[in-house]
Subunit: 159 residues, 2 copies
DNA sequence: CAAGATTGAACTGTCAATCTTT
DNA sequence: AAAGATTGACAGTTCAATCTTG
């Protein structure tokens, strides 16, 4: 915890940026080009909603979970609703609130996309790491955002 | 090296994605909002050009180094040239080739931005990692793209 | 025809402004 | 006035088509 950026940290930063851009793009592309799968961003939305209580979530909460702005989410949700993968539901207690809810079709899309997603993550990421390396990596990267999460922790056992 | 994605690897992937999006955005924003600094993307271009031979590089090579498409780079370079930070230079031997070259003004912009960039990387990334962790991280992440780099290695000691 | 680079059209994400509800 | 969400204007990205040179 020094106040000035060390060389090791700077080099690690470089690897972080480069590895992410390479790997992420490849996974993204794998999902885009495979037939029967949804774009990464949609996958993410479906995945989070699927695990949420009643398979629905407030748009604000969803925007925090996945990482987008509210306005971007509004637009994604519109498109996904057009595609029939999710449904908008108004909240009765507070009419400002909109829920996004996975539809049966959305659930199917998630199930169809999962093998493609899994295979891509394995190919471009998992394949290159031993179990030990993967665990180390998770632990180290966790330090980068745990501080944030402690602030915005509204996630009450929603795993 | 298994053929199926393991749980450790999948969890590491999750950390990878989340940590990157959080950290990267914050660094990006730090550069955008600080006065006298250039956007991250421009910084990256200036940084790479600055270290290149004669402070210039072919657009194709540059596009490979930083991670963008050629068309995106063409447009960035145009804007940066408008801003006076880089200069386009035609190649005499092969008139298809365009070089991008850092100008004095570009060099100054790089120097002005560096402390801001360094501070942001330290604040949102380096601060959270010990030297050992940083080294481990770099080593592990290196495995993710070394395979790619071996294929496209045209980088003859350009460090 | 291939390689380097550029352009146009379409798309996506972002900021600020706005609308509704509390 | 603040919170949740949406919209319009705009900037940046991408794909395919194009232009020029080799």
């Amino acid at each position: 915890m020094r106040s000035k950026l060390g060389l090791s940290q700077f080099k690690a930063w470089g690897s972080f940026i480069v590895s992410h851009s390479r790997v992420y793009r490849q996974v993204e592309r794998a999902l885009e080009t495979a037939s029967g799968s949804v774009p990464y961003h949609w996958y993410d939305v479906l995945f989070v909603l699927h695990r949420a209580k009643d398979r629905r979530m407030r748009l604000s909460d969803l925007a925090e979970k996945i990482v987008t702005s509210k306005s971007a989410l509004t637009r994604s949700i519109d498109k996904m609703a057009d595609a029939g993968l999710i449904k908008r539901v108004q909240c009765n207690e507070d009419k400002r609130v909109q829920y996004a809810m996975v539809t049966a079709k959305g659930h199917q899309a998630l199930k169809r996309s999962w093998p493609i997603y899994r295979a891509a993550v394995q190919e471009y990421f998992g394949k290159h790491l031993s179990n030990q390396e993967a665990k180390q990596l998770e632990k180290i990267l966790g330090k980068l955002f745990i501080c944030d999460d402690e602030k915005r922790q509204k996630d009450r056992g929603g795993a």
